[in-house]
Amino acid sequence: MPQFFMNKRLIILLAGIIILVALIGFSLRERELTWPEQFVKDSAGFLQNIVAKPAHLVSNIVEGVSDIKKTYDENKVLKERLDEYAQIKVKADRLEKENEELKALIEKEKDLASYTTHHATVIARNPDRWNEALTIDKGEVHGVKQGMAVVTAEGMIGKIKSAGRITSTVQLLSTVDRTNRVHVTIQGKSDIYGLIEGFDLKTQQLIVKQIPFEEKVKKDMDVVTSGLANIFPKGLYIGKVVKVEHDQNGLTQTAYVKPAANFYNIENVIVVERELESQMDGEGQGESS
């Protein structure tokens, strides 16, 4: 027995394992970054920025060349759509004005759908893609905060998991994590609410659960953020419903949603900041319904 305790290596190994487990337990919780982590992250971000800039330059040139090849065909299609565009523009202007007037009428300046944007460039991506994380070159200094929604031109891709001073980490919707939940609206005749609770790797579809069983969800319905649960604005586009299933207990339904945004080869993203503060949620919910 004394010999067992004399064995220095064994003691160190055991102590190491205990510390390791404690560290994992500590870091698995939803938390803010501690300052040493922020320091390491920002220094690494500085380096990644240096490497990423030439890489983006090269990829832009390659993309530019392939774009030129496609220009003629695209131009043809665009010309046909041009007439349509003018009509839509007039209609949108009219609706916007009308909306403004109506808002002035009920003395409401901001609602859940209004937001401001920050543009950012992706400078790194987690090489082992178990948790899908991107690093972007904007941080707290530029006004990015934890929990904000991140979108590309096609649709929503994720949220800010943690914000450093000059860089921040984006957690993609496809990450398997119990804290990665988004409250969504499925746009039918009336709004149907659900919760994104995971990602099916095999079919590359988002899984929306907690849909009440009496609601009729159909294929090709649009799914957008609801703006009710998180600090995301209302109406960010996520994707289209592909398949609906009843749950085993029969009380809820599960919908499979094909995300509109491409989760690969992301270069530029937009961080979305809702104008309405979160503490005003109660008021906002009542009015927007």
């Binding site: 990644q48 990423a52 890489a55 400078i123 690969y264």
Partner: protein
Amino acid sequence: MNKQWWIPLIIVIAFGIESIVPNFLPVYFFSQYVIIVPRILFIVLLFITVFYDEKQGQLYAFLSGVVMDIVFTEIIGIYIFWYPATIYLVRKVMKYWHNNLFVTGLVAFIAVTFLETGIFWIHAILNTVDVPFKYFVEHRLIPTLIFNFIIYLVFSYPLKKRLVKLAKMKSEESMFQS
């Protein structure tokens, strides 16, 4: 340039490349469902351990593990354990074998398999992964091994040459001092 700066510089460059490569990897080339993990940093660490200095390799493996965990996974306790553990096993194995490029390639192949499986296993325990083992092997492990084998073929020779040269310079220096 001062020669003791070479090793950290190589590691920092490898880290920088590894963090931007996944964003540009042409996954569409094969299939959207295949995931390729570049292990450039790990291969560099392995080379430092085999051809330069065992103890320094171990230390750098630990430090890179800390940085990887903080910057990418945000779960401290995955790379911080698996990088040094794998390098430690590599040290044990390389005591019995010659360190030429062929044997090192074989060891690197086994080590990357070990590392990938270990990381999959720990994620499976923590419930941050929900794929079966078979899916992991088919869609992740095999493509990863092929990709890293290509990287190995391209970079192993110049990297070895540089490291052996640095090791020689170091041993000469210590001879003069004693």
